[in-house]
């Protein structure tokens, strides 16, 4: 700590270093602290009896047998909750959902009765012993039929008496229609993105503990947003907010599925209030797949207008959104279709018009934002498929078409016709890099050769622009709460740091990456920085982690808090250096006298002085808190190129190569960023080839367990190849954009484009995902190839 020793212009664990993760030790040693690992004295267990019917009146509930199961202590029905005003609760989109039904169930696997017992096994026996009589009602599973006149009304509780939830539109309808009328080339396509499920390896659960003695309500919960949950609980239950503590411990994957408030959390809370003991609820995988957090389910019709030499002019999109029986989407309140209107993508459409109509159906509620920043997957899928469809129509190479149309780097900040101001981008740079890495020209030559021999090989491109970091306070709120985020940073006398954030990692590595930001800003090694998240009692208020928002919001807050600290620290340094404050600058990770850099004080020396030798009249301590209201969203982007080979006999698609060039601005930890991309690409592969949830006409689910809902293994997953370009965000304190979801968003169209490209000789324009082998086989066997 001597002032004479030269300070290296490097901090251990700063931005850009691939330091190993600080949080790993407990996970490697089996000492993670997930909700189901936690055991509280006197804890009880909740299990739930669920409806086998998609739509039915409940005519009787008999719980005598359940109550006789040894160990069962209580049952909770919808009527019990109704008495407490809790049978229904608000959703994040200001609709309402049932906690437990009073008289009608509206989706298969809906929660019907809660059974509380002193053991996990007894609770399961109890739930199996509950008897419920149902009178089936007509089931509506097709959203188009739901919207047709005369359809059975599902939500009889709503005054509208309609299955049409809302209509939303944006853009210039008249101008877009005019553009289409005047255009030389148009293409149109129906695209369906089926229902899928986040399916994180840990399911959802909680331990609710109402302490009757001191009136404190504590809930350990698999939640990505502990503070928002606390406020919602306060508003819904009337419990005073200062007495509610939400603890989000280690979370085994979130991906958006752990944002909603599920009925199980509320039933467990009521059970704890009723019994005076902690109540644990952990859902099984089948319950998780069948009852919560579905994503997507968009029926899209898209049209693109262009000039005959391939310049896009206008975009028209009409979507029917299937929300299940209630709109429990997790979108910012002003955007019921999320950020779907990023759908003009990487291209400067002069005109666009987008409309979405949401429908109720007898299916579980949603859709959550599954690793997609609010419907961006749906938007990117649409535009990137349409670009390939347009390229096919124009008989132009899809890479060439994109390069011709991209918003050029000098156009940024770029205001899209649908109202977004993209912060920065270099789309051609990313695509060209991807093309070079994969040897695009070589692949096209190989394809031509293979086509002559009748072999099927395809190349697909996706050049996506994402929109993340929700979000600026003028436009973004969830149930009225603005979407800022926060960092509270405190430096101890011995120069170590504790920092708490309003976000909540579910595997993204915040304990490491936030420490790296602070290390960079404060010159203190990352090893000396402890990061905490997830306890609503101690962490500053934030809106949580989803939609790739942590780096853009809380990461920025970390920088801003650090800079506030630096400002105070500079004054202390001046005091220690016995110079005026104006003569001191922060340079090369230390406070240095201007012109005499060797006269310096480290942040550690300043920290010690903040408690032992601060200037007269100044408060002791060295800390700051920042609530960061982002001035804009950030716009990560990239270009992905996928190569597939198709087995002509079986229709099986094999991804031979996949190159992902991502640009997330400043990269905090390259190793962690690559990990996010690998995982995201796999979550993009999955719905393209494997995953879907379907319902038959009676509302029975197909894909309601891991036997049928096929998550990729290491066999299906290719060895992803990644590369980067770096185009910092001009408005973010460290130029970072966030990257958690880019790959999930960008990958599906690359894969689908590749398969359709492979099948070009058969005249295929589009195949809806997931692309099962038989879908390909049916195309191959419908007739001989049309072109050589």
């Amino acid at each position: 700590m001597s002032a004479e020793a030269p300070t290296p212009a490097h901090v251990k664990g700063g931005i850009g270093q691939s330091i190993l993760r600080k949080e790993d030790a407990r996970f490697l040693r089996g000492k993670g602290n997930y909700v189901d690992d936690i055991k509280l004295p006197g804890m009880l267990y909740l299990d739930i009896t669920r409806s086998p019917y998609a739509h039915a009146k409940i005519t009787a509930i008999r719980t005598e047998k359940a109550l006789k199961v040894p160990g069962v202590l209580a049952v909770i029905t919808g009527k019990d909750l109704e008495a407490a005003g809790l049978a229904w609760m608000p959703t994040l989109m200001s609709d309402k959902q049932m906690v437990l039904p009073v008289d009608t169930v509206m989706y298969q696997a809906q929660e019907v009765v809660g059974v509380v017992a002193d053991s996990r096994y007894a609770a399961a026996d109890g739930a199996a012993a509950v008897e419920v009589d149902y009178e089936p009602l007509p089931v509506v599973v097709d959203p188009f039929k739901a919207l047709a006149p005369g359809a059975p009304v599902i939500r009889t509780d709503r005054k509208e008496q309609s299955n049409h939830i809302w209509h939303w539109e944006t853009g210039d309808k008249a101008g877009t229609d005019e553009s289409f009328r005047a255009s030389e080339v148009t293409v149109s396509q129906d695209l369906y993105i089926p229902r899928i499920h986040v399916s994180s390896m840990e399911t959802c659960g909680c331990i609710a503990q109402m302490d009757p003695v001191n009136g404190r309500f504590t809930i350990y919960m698999t939640t990505q947003a502990p503070h928002a949950i606390r406020t919602v609980f306060a508003l819904v239950t009337g419990l005073p907010e200062q007495n509610i503590r939400v603890i989000s411990p280690d979370i085994g994957g979130g991906f958006g599925g752990k944002v909603p408030v599920y009925p199980g959390y509320v039933i467990a809370s009521v059970a704890s209030i009723k019994t005076g003991r902690p109540v644990k609820w952990i859902e099984d995988r089948s319950e998780n797949l069948q009852a919560d957090s579905f994503a997507r389910d968009y029926h899209i019709h898209a049209e693109v207008a262009a000039t005959k030499d391939g310049k896009v002019t206008a975009l028209k999109v009409k979507t029917v959104a299937d929300h299940g029986y209630t709109d429990a989407a997790a979108n910012p309140s002003k955007f019921p279709a999320g950020l779907f209107h990023i759908i003009t993508g990487s291209y400067p459409f002069a005109k666009a018009f987008v409309e979405v109509d949401a429908a109720y159906t007898n299916k579980p509620p949603g859709g959550i934002a599954y690793r997609c920043s609010f419907r961006v997957t749906e938007a990117v899928y649409t535009i990137e498929r349409m670009m390939d469809i347009l390229a096919h129509k124009l008989k132009v190479d899809p890479a060439e078409l994109r390069l011709k149309n991209f918003i050029p780097p000098e156009a940024f900040p770029f205001k899209s016709t649908l109202g977004w101001t993209y912060d920065s981008g270099n789309y051609a740079g990313a695509l060209k890099k991807a093309m070079e890495i994969i040897d695009y020209a070589g692949l096209r030559r190989e394809q031509a050769e293979k086509r002559r021999k009748g072999e099927l090989m395809g190349i697909g491109i996706s050049s996506f622009t994402e929109i993340v970091g929700a979000g600026p306070s003028q436009q973004f709120d969830i149930l009225g709460i603005k979407m800022f985020d926060s960092a509270e940073v405190r430096i101890h006398p011995t120069g170590k740091i504790i920092a708490r954030f309003g976000t909540k990692s579910q595997g993204q590595g915040h304990e490491t990456t936030y420490a790296q930001i602070l290390a960079e800003e404060l010159g203190i090694p990352a090893d000396d920085i402890r990061v905490e998240e997830g306890d609503s009692d101690t962490a500053p208020y934030g809106l949580g982690t989803y939609a790739s928002r942590s780096t853009p919001t809380a990461g920025a807050a970390a920088s801003m808090a650090a800079r506030k600290i630096r400002e105070k620290a500079r004054k202390i340094a001046a005091h220690l250096l016995e110079v005026s404050v104006d003569d001191v600058e922060w340079k090369d990770y230390a406070f240095r006298v201007k012109g005499v850099p060797s006269k310096s004080k480290t942040m550690q020396e300043v920290a010690f002085a903040a408690y032992t030798n601060h200037p007269q009249g100044m408060e002791a301590g060295l800390e700051a808190i920042d609530y960061y209201d982002p001035p804009n969203m950030t716009f990560p982007f990239g270009s992905y190129i996928c190569v597939v080979d198709i087995d002509k006999d079986t229709g099986q698609v094999k991804v031979r190569r996949f190159v992902a060039v991502d640009d997330c601005g400043t990269i905090i930890n390259p190793m962690i960023v690559d990990g996010q991309i690998h995982g995201g690409l796999t979550m993009g592969l999955a719905p393209s080839l494997l995953e879907e949830i379907q319902y038959d006409a009676d509302g029975n689910i197909h894909g309601g367990s891991f036997m049928d809902y096929l998550v990729p293994t290491a066999i299906e997953t290719p060895r992803w190849e990644t590369a980067k370009t770096v185009t910092p965000s001009p408005h973010h304190p460290i130029g970072a954009k966030g990257v958690g979801e880019s790959a999930t968003v960008g990958a599906p169209p690359a894969i689908v484009n590749a398969v359709v490209d492979a099948l070009q000789p058969y005249g295929v324009e589009h195949i809806d995902i997931p692309i099962h082998p038989w879908k390909v086989w049916q195309i191959l066997h419908a007739g001989p190839p049309k072109t050589g």
């Binding site: 399961a124 099986q652 990729p712 293994t713 299906e716 099962h772 082998p773 038989w774």
Partner: protein, 291 residues
């Protein structure tokens, strides 16, 4: 997720096990590998009164050639098939199948006996046993009996095995010179049930013609299916393109698939032919001395 309660017994001999099965008169299930039974019980789709755990019975897991047969004990683990040099050399159809069954974790406990007698049309070993012309040995209250596998599979989850009988051994005709066998299935995802699977077992005579042939199919019907006409069409013929193609199309005709999450009817039929041809090609190559 939680099985219902049951009584548990771990007998130390086949006779003790059979006595227990008799005592519970169909309400007891045998616990071997448990990777078909326990999942069913966790979903409460099976609720036996008692489990008879046969894993403590000694001398029930073996792979050996004796007399005219390859004899595999019922509690031989699927992975033991993979590790057996004898199987790889002389009965490679079983190595092929073992490689493709479920995943390596399941295979450490899943047994040959269980896979053979569970009766799920998606199990892989039944088609192999049909193609090999195998037999099973079962012990019941009346003693031991030997059943040809060709008559064993009656319906989905229904075999000739009585609920009070215990399968103790699978017997396969000992490998002959110029015999080749192979198995292959296609699945949507590793570890999933097959969209379709095919097994082929050929013995060539000294002139290189087919002396005997067994072709069988997985998961394209209520049970594994022995495509007898397909196998029969090859006997006495040269294993050439025309005959193999014809056999494959007869295999398609033998398939009786349902359309479901693993494919529509016409696809599964077509795959029966594609896969039958693939395994025939490989079996021929092996019979002729290649890999």
């Amino acid at each position: 997720m939680i099985p219902p309660p049951f009584e548990y017994y771990a007998p130390h001999s086949v006779d003790e096990a059979v006595a227990l099965l008799r005592r519970f008169d169909g309400e007891a299930k045998v616990l071997a590998g448990g990777h078909s039974l326990i999942p069913l019980m966790k979903l409460r789709l099976a609720q036996p009164t008692a489990l008879v755990d046969i894993n403590r019975i000694p001398n029930l897991a073996y792979i050996r050639e004796e007399g005219n047969h390859l004899r595999i004990g019922a509690t031989t683990r699927t992975n033991d098939l993979l590790e057996s040099a004898l199987i790889r050399k002389s009965y490679p159809i079983l190595t092929d199948a073992a490689q493709e069954i479920a995943d390596p974790l399941v295979r450490n406990l899943g047994t040959v006996g269980g896979n053979v007698c569970h009766g799920d049309p998606g199990n892989d070993l039944p088609a192999c046993m049909l193609a090999l012309g195998a037999e099973v040995v079962a012990v019941g209250e009346k003693g031991s009996r030997t059943l040809p596998v060709s008559d064993f599979y009656k319906d989905t989850f229904v075999t000739s095995l009585e609920p009070t009988e215990l399968l103790v051994e699978v017997r396969i005709p000992k490998a002959r010179p110029h015999q080749g066998s192979a198995y292959h299935k296609i699945e949507k995802r590793a570890g999933d049930f097959a969209m379709a699977g095919a097994a082929a077992n050929l013995v060539l005579d000294a002139s290189g013609k087919v002396e005997s042939a067994g072709i069988a199919l997985t998961n394209v019907g209520p049970t594994a299916i022995l495509a007898s006409a397909a196998g029969g069409s090859l006997v006495g013929q040269a294993p050439d393109e025309a005959h193999l193609a014809h056999a494959a199309s007869l295999a398609r005709d033998a398939a009786q698939p349902n359309g479901d999450l693993r494919g529509p009817v016409e696809y599964k039929r077509a795959m029966a032919a594609v896969l039958a041809r693939r395994v025939l090609d490989r079996a021929v190559a092996r019979a002729q001395g290649g890999a």
